[in-house]
Symmetry: C2
Subunit: 243 residues, 2 copies
DNA sequence: CGAAACTTTGAAAAGGATCAAACTTTGTGG
DNA sequence: CCACAAAGTTTGATCCTTTTCAAAGTTTCG
């Protein structure tokens, strides 16, 4: 299982080395940990609310979501993660899950136990810094999500989300000719943005008729990025994609 | 300036040692850093959006807020911090501020330069873990804020915020007989919860007439905590107040 | 091919925003 | 210590965005 390193190079290491200037040896040491690759099917739970996982994962392929369910049965999706992310890295320091981590699409995940990862972080402070930084960028994304939901109109919220997804996927080489895959239904977008499915649908139609983007089942094609970003008041600073 | 330690014991160290089981020596080493105490007046900026601060702070007394301003001039408050918090600890790993940190009330803050703090974290991995954990709890608070805004009614949002404030202030000994001080105007609550001032006012009145709480200018008295928590669907798990 | 999942449409209802004005509290200078 | 201006709260009326409900299309996939 130790030769996972080659797969990582395309995703996690790409990010850590580009954005965080992680020394090569630290990256190699991280890859040298006993990772274990597992496949999860879409909609499967990876770590449930209230559980205390003993390991955390990095996404090799696919998307994950964090969500909670309210008393009225409605689900809120708090965030999503893309290849190269470590969506439950926080469990290294905060033992109990306060939300559920699930697979949005079919996923290929690489798991490592907390013990060896923590030991390596203690041994290599620059690796700890890089991973800490990753969790802080996640945090900045949550903060921005509060502003998105609190202050933007339905159409703007959707546009903002799509601008963010494009920027995050571009950073991990998942954009081809301005198109990218996002395995979401309109219901799911609603659960993420705090909007009804109907309103998502109407917002999509507006963005389409504005000729800002094309959306066909799971494929998104942004036609006019700068207008879309302008509409959404999207500024990628909070993603801290460059150091 | 080095004898700040005694003041810290009541706030930051209380939290780090209780919640994170931080070894005593690590706490002492943290206190031994060259902290510098500064007073900020209400509404003053501590670190502006786009800046690259070279230090970070711990709140000794008072409250801070993080906020951004939208194109229409509306301000969104993304989060607030209470005594014992380190509201810009993230700047240790993410250099550019993607929001503005400001003083909500008059504040007494203790600053330490990034250099010595980072060096100490590298030297004492358990301290790094404890501080990393603090930033992750902040992150959990942001995540929960997205759910609060996306899924709860105006009245519920306000109730949820007040439940959270009570729990956070209780953890740092700022509750007396169920009462606590929160230096907020109704306009500010609106900026935080994504609601108009009018709606905040009406929600307060509902909570008052339900006899769930009393609010008089800056003092909040929760009369029926369990009913309030129930109304708001508030579960303090995400604050991770105990390990 | 057919069932299930998802998208689209229309109409009505609700929650909250906005606008405008009156009222109350707070803090400051005389 | 009072007066007064500024800041903050409260109220009422109207408007608007989004939700809800219901049903008809459309796509996907076994």
């Amino acid at each position: 299982m130790h030769n996972v390193a080659a797969v990582f190079m395309d995703t996690l290491l790409l990010r850590l080395q580009k954005a965080t200037k992680l020394p090569l040896e630290d990256g190699q040491a991280l890859c040298g940990l006993p990772w274990r690759i597992e496949d999860y099917s879409a909609h499967a739970d990876i770590a449930g609310e209230g559980s205390k996982p003993g390991r955390c994962c990095s996404i090799l392929e696919g998307f994950t979501v964090r969500h909670t369910t309210l008393q009225n049965g409605k689900r809120h999706i708090q965030s999503y993660n893309v290849p190269g992310d470590m969506p439950d890295l926080h469990s290294l320091q905060v033992s109990t899950m306060d939300h559920t981590l699930g697979a949005l699409s079919d996923c290929k995940l690489a798991f490592v136990a907390h013990g060896p990862l923590r030991a390596l972080c203690h041994q290599r402070p620059h690796l700890a810094d890089a991973l800490w930084r990753e969790t802080l960028i996640d945090a900045a994304t949550f903060r921005t999500a509060t502003t998105r939901i609190a202050q933007l109109s339905a159409k703007q919220r959707l546009a903002h989300l799509l601008c963010e997804a494009e920027a995050r996927l571009e950073a991990v080489g998942r954009i081809q000719n301005g198109k990218f895959n996002l395995p979401v239904t309109q219901e799911l977008l609603g659960e993420f943005l705090g909007l009804s499915t109907v309103q998502i649908n109407r917002s999509i139609q507006e963005l389409r008729s504005d000729e800002l983007l094309k959306i066909s089942r799971h494929e998104i094609h942004i036609l006019d990025r700068s207008s879309l970003r302008n509409l959404a008041e999207f500024d990628p600073l909070y993603l801290h994609l460059s150091h």
